[in-house]
């Protein structure tokens, strides 16, 4: 049983790394008390998803998705899909990375607002102040 459970680690360790990163991010979002730490946890979670997508694009023995000699007008040679890695996950994650930076900015702006309102970023202190109102 023990051997069976870990038999796929050698060929799928990328997914296991992603799962570990996701767990770290989720734990930070649930258990951390500080709002900025929660936001960073969210970012770790996003990074795990980005890594997951990008790792699904990989193909053994393939190269980056830029056609060789394509810019010299020799692009009319037959191109085999197996020679180039899948460009689609890279496209999706390329935009997702920049959007995640932008949303991180919005999240930090909200944290700044919360800090100005309550004078703290610790969740339990904020909850205490709300209860005492």
């Amino acid at each position: 049983m023990g051997v069976e459970l870990f038999s796929d680690i050698a060929s799928k360790y990328n997914y296991l790394g992603v799962v570990i990163l996701m767990m770290i991010g989720l734990y930070a979002m649930i258990a951390k008390n500080n709002l900025v730490k929660k936001i960073i946890g969210m970012n770790i979670f996003q990074t795990a998803i980005i890594l997951f997508y990008v790792s699904t694009a990989a193909k053994r023995g393939a190269t980056i998705p830029i056609i060789r000699h394509g810019h010299n007008g020799h692009g009319h040679e037959v191109i085999h899909a197996a020679e180039y890695i899948n460009p689609l996950p890279h496209v999706l994650m390329l935009t997702a990375i920049v959007v995640s930076v932008a949303t991180l900015g919005v999240a930090l702006a909200l944290a700044v607002k919360v800090y100005h309102q309550y004078g703290t970023l610790e969740e339990d202190e904020i909850r205490g102040q709300l209860r005492n109102k």
Binding site: M23, I30, A58, K59, R60, I66, V91, A109
Partner: protein, 276 residues
């Protein structure tokens, strides 16, 4: 809370670990993501769009709508930061700090005092004391133009080498942010003002959507760059390549401006007087 969180995380992790058993091996060429549309993109993109970098081809042409709205999301995020944080009424600070550069003496000027003009010999400094750091300032001044030229190269050459509007735009924005960190926020705002960032951010999105609308005016579908062939004076396949370049420039402008805008608002909590 910690124990409950840990239990949830472990349950979530074991569920995902169970799911991994059904995944294809890493690097398997026959894995499901590589089978559906991606062979078409890889094999036909250069014949259909004349762009060797498949990521750019898929980003700006095959999935042009997706990218347009991602750009809109980035602009909306910049706008959200502005709406949340910006303080528009000017408060006069309690006191201001100036440094006399030749001697290194710091002047503290209380409310009502006469302020020295910002010149070669006086510079205003932030209220948390910052030392006059020659190495950081000289290095950033030396690096910034190279960084900006590299960013323009990454935007303009995104068809043929790794790069494109998003990457180049972020590098361009980072160059401005580095300037703002190594000098101070006020000096950076003097160069690229808040209005400029807002206008450039929306102009970038407008360039993207406007290119799409222009294609519609010329009788094709939205973002079908082949319609631009007549305007650009090239064949329809090459027109797709040029159309993508226009769109990528729009994305680059929008992304760089919004990054700078978010930094301005976030680092000064919306007051735009003292940064990090």
């Amino acid at each position: 809370m910690r124990i409950i969180g840990l239990l949830i995380v472990i349950a979530f992790g074991s569920l995902l670990r169970y799911g991994v058993f059904f995944f294809p091996e890493w690097g398997d060429p026959a894995s499901p993501p590589s089978l559906h549309v991606s062979p078409h993109y890889i094999e036909e993109a250069i014949a259909e769009t004349a762009v060797p970098n498949l990521v750019t081809a898929v980003l700006a042409d095959y999935r042009g709508y997706d990218t347009m709205f991602e750009t809109t999301v980035i602009f909306a995020a910049g706008l959200a930061c502005f709406m949340l944080l910006r303080v528009l009424q000017r408060q006069v600070p309690e006191c201001r700090l100036y440094r006399h550069i030749p001697t290194g003496i710091t002047l503290r000027i209380e409310k009502g005092g006469k302020l020295p003009t910002e010149s070669g010999s006086f510079e205003r400094i932030d209220s948390n004391w910052v030392p006059h750091d020659l190495i950081i300032k000289s290095t950033s001044r030396f690096i910034t133009p190279f960084l900006q030229i590299f960013a323009l190269y990454v935007i303009a050459h995104g068809h043929h080498s790794p790069g494109g509007g998003f990457q180049g735009g972020v590098i361009l924005g980072a160059a401005v942010i580095m300037y703002a960190i190594s000098y101070d926020l006020r000096r950076s705002i003097q160069r690229i003002g808040e209005q400029a960032t807002a206008v450039l951010g929306s102009a970038g999105v407008l360039i993207y959507a406007g290119t799409g609308a222009l294609c519609m005016v010329l009788g094709a579908a939205f973002l079908d760059y082949g319609a631009l062939a007549g305007l650009l004076g090239v064949d329809p396949v090459m027109a797709r390549s040029h159309g993508m370049l226009i769109v990528e420039i729009g994305v680059g402008i929008a992304v760089s401006a919004v990054m700078v805008w978010i930094y301005y608002n976030l680092s000064s909590a919306g007051r735009h007087d003292e940064g990090l």
